[in-house]
Symmetry: C2
Subunit: 408 residues, 2 copies
Amino acid sequence: MSAALSQPALDADETLHSTPRVYRFSAPLPLACGISLADYELVVETYGELDADRSNAVLICHALNASHHVAGVDDKGERGWWDNMVGPGKAVDTRRFFVIGVNNLGSCFGSTGPRSANPATGKPWGADFPVVTVEDWVDAQARLLDVMGIEKLAVVMGGSLGGMQALSWSIRYPERVAHCAVIASTPRLSAQNIAFNDVARTAILSDPDFHGGHYYEHGVVPARGLRVARMIGHITYLSDDSLAEKFGRDLRALADGAPREGYGFGFGVEFEIESYLRYQGEKFSRYFDANTYLLITKALDYFDPAGRHGGDLTRALAPARAKFLVASFTTDWRFSPQRSREIVQALVANGREVSYAEIDAPHGHDAFLLEDPRYHAVVRNWFEGIAADLAARTPASAVTLDLQRLAT
Amino acid sequence: MSAALSQPALDADETLHSTPRVYRFSAPLPLACGISLADYELVVETYGELDADRSNAVLICHALNASHHVAGVDDKGERGWWDNMVGPGKAVDTRRFFVIGVNNLGSCFGSTGPRSANPATGKPWGADFPVVTVEDWVDAQARLLDVMGIEKLAVVMGGSLGGMQALSWSIRYPERVAHCAVIASTPRLSAQNIAFNDVARTAILSDPDFHGGHYYEHGVVPARGLRVARMIGHITYLSDDSLAEKFGRDLRALADGAPREGYGFGFGVEFEIESYLRYQGEKFSRYFDANTYLLITKALDYFDPAGRHGGDLTRALAPARAKFLVASFTTDWRFSPQRSREIVQALVANGREVSYAEIDAPHGHDAFLLEDPRYHAVVRNWFEGIAADLAARTPASAVTLDLQRLAT
């Protein structure tokens, strides 16, 4: 296991170079749907060094279209999806913390999912891959930590769907979570949230290239549906104001670069916002798997810890023992600050220690991925407090070792 | 013309029975896109009686999916789309006003549109039907009034896209509009509004059954795309709160009526909101034409009277001479009250008389179609004031005639 836990190489400018590692599990994983996954793989990246008493581990949970590649630059030269947050000297400082990124089951970035072989048929699972839940992911992540020899996380952290996983960790494995950061998230999807997800799913399911989810065998992908799904999603990630600011009613220049004189009176790309959205849809349809999109939107829809307690979130969160950071963004209309406040109120009612930041940021839901100074300062301060607590109880020798390595 | 202007039959309970009438125009209509429509037809319904001096006409402009069938019951037994607003004794009282509903060019309810024969080919226009604008519709409506012998409207009125037409009337034909009611509308679409429209268009354009807009010849309709388009639109017409209130996270009963025990872990209809939206999409795809959807969303996107004045709405509205009613709904996030306030401010800056009502209603954009008591009271009061002004200058004989007819 030591190879997996070693620190990635650092450039002179301290850029992390991350290499994913595959963990194979052979004990069946019982899922919420009633099916057990007989064996499965999880792809993992880690950054920083696990300290001697294995107390500085931070698990980062990803949202819909992200992966294990949280930080640094991978072999393809791509930056991690939260590289502005996680790295040496960053808010989640990999000089102090051992950070784990894991691709969730059902995703399409290497962990077992719809493109993997169904042991029953030898062919790709396709749409037969079991519908996994937030709780299933958390259980799979807990097993990963078992294998890594990490009994307790210093922090579990996530934004959006990742925040749901963090919250679920605090309920399902209260003794294994010292701190929990739930960012731009919600205790449950609203009818409107589910509605947007279902339109996206309908676009995919009704694409003739979907073939009941077994499109791999037909050598096609339901790209049309996936494009529309992504366009819808993308609108909900951004605020009305940020779209107005970024695109307004600007017209896209013509193919030859000349500015558009008046309207085109056709149905091609004309406004900048159309160009942007169609480009986002097209790009997404080339790298993301439609079956994964279906699965992950269902995991979003299903998440509702209070549902098992008659809608009482306070009772649902009663088992939690962690110290919390909850953060929301004023212009996030997908998971509005009100949703985060519900979490805070339930935690406070349970006597938990909670830091809550409602950040006045213009970018809507996507703000959690962006480098807003106030937001990052909040996260940095919270992590510095945790690091200070850890340092106070870490044996001096380990600290020395760590400083020596950083000095080389 | 007298046949067209006669009052529809009334039941004992004063239900209007409306019969549409087709007006044929042979003078070419120049459109904003540069094309002229050589000849065209408009389908019209009228309610109430035009008074002797032709001063009590009210033109109702329709929004995306509505038609000339504003009020009463048609031959198929269907109620008009604004029947709660327009009729004998209703807020827009057809005992006092002569109300005109007209299906716009490019629509799919009888007026010339994509399903009509293109004179150049003898085949349906399909996607070759010219992209019409709000201003084109207003020009066509003005010609209709010419033929009807109505020099000046007592009121032009519309909600949403209909409100844009009313506003455009006040600018293009200021001497022909005494009063103008602009409800749940906006002086221009935002980037977010355009984004939602473009996702809807993308769903239609990328449906393999679209066939470049010439699907009529293939005996198919792009129903998949149209369903998704309608589902997206529908979400934006309703408020988050009203969806929460109406559907919440309720699960749909199983096909046999039994309540659902827990989640289904599949991609079929599961939540009530999914059932509702998919049903709305399905219904819409059976009665609405996809080419019309494309055209009308473009008319929405293009509307921007201030655009021709460097974004200065006050200058754009300077020609208007009407007295205005502007109304918005607090939970309308498609065309929020702020958009209506922009109109009010520009009108006031021009010295216009404006009544503005911001109605605290829970139903989002759709509120303009619903029977909210405060909203209807506002419209009723405004129309009663207009009726009183008209009565004060109407010859006594005409009033007597009208009362006699109502007494029979």
